[in-house]
Subunit: 152 residues, 2 copies
DNA sequence: TATTGTTATACTCTATAACTATA
DNA sequence: TATAGTTATAGAGTATAACAATA
């Protein structure tokens, strides 16, 4: 039986996406959503968003990082960061330590629990990255990274 | 003068992003944000989000599209779509027309103003796409699309 | 009973502006 | 005066659950 354009027997419509199909912006968004979903639902998912893990990485790699510097680094407003850090703090993963040099500033630190969580999250990231690029060769993955870098 | 790791003369900290730098998920997110920003702030930007333009395209290409089918097609809940369609409707770009076949359904249509807006938006998209991939050759752009397709 | 669209509600992400405590 | 962090507030995006109209 020929498939009627626009519908099938399940009543699920196969939409015409027109010019959307081959737009970098659109494909970027689709890929990003897929990556996010996979990250959140994968086996051994750390119960943290990719953004939260990113914050843990940055705190780990940059001793005495202030909220201001972190805000600038990840490109979100300092006020936006407050709730994110509150959540990580409530979960016992980070601490805000008042700077003794300039008492307006907080120096961000991982707690021991945060360190352990980060170690596990990094292992998970490796696994996730392999799953995400499972259909790509090593060369293709490198090419993709280079091309994305040119756009971002 | 050698640059001290972690800071420079402006007091702007060059953060260590660690393993983040070469993760597909992270680069995807960065590229997507850059694409979105460029779309919204470019010359001749249509005053619509990429998502809104996408909805206009889908309505244009799929006659008698229902909210249900659109919801399924773009992968958002039907309740989420309501506010989006309200906004497009308030701006006079689309109409909801009660189906005479099944009066529970709305058939979505572009208004004449919506048609004109879409025509302009499509021209803008071409311009935006060229700007976004300005640093890529035609081959590289095609490669990027193919690789993104494998992930999304 | 089931489906379509709407509403009520809630949570996240985002920003701007005003506040506080420090500098 | 200016800066670091917080709070108040607001808007967009997302979802689930319950509802009215219709099938």
């Amino acid at each position: 039986m020929a498939k009627t354009p626009g519908s099938n027997q399940d009543g699920i419509h196969a939409l015409d996406f027109g010019q959307l199909t081959d737009l970098v912006g659109y494909r970027l968004r689709k890929a990003q959503i897929a990556a996010y979903q996979a990250f959140m639902t994968g086996r051994d998912a750390p119960g943290l968003t990719p953004g939260q893990v990113g914050v843990l990485i940055l705190i780990d790699r940059n001793p005495a990082l202030t909220q201001q510097a972190l805000s600038y680094g990840i490109g979100v407003d300092k006020s936006t960061l407050v709730a994110t850090l509150d959540r990580l703090s409530e979960r016992g993963l980070i601490r805000r330590v008042r700077s003794s040099v300039d008492r307006r500033q907080n120096e961000l630190r991982l707690t021991p629990k945060g360190q352990r969580t980060l170690t596990e999250a990094l292992a998970y990231i490796d696994q996730h990255e392999r799953a995400l690029t499972a259909r790509l060769s090593d060369d293709e993955r490198a090419t993709l990274l280079a091309l994305l870098h040119k756009i971002g």
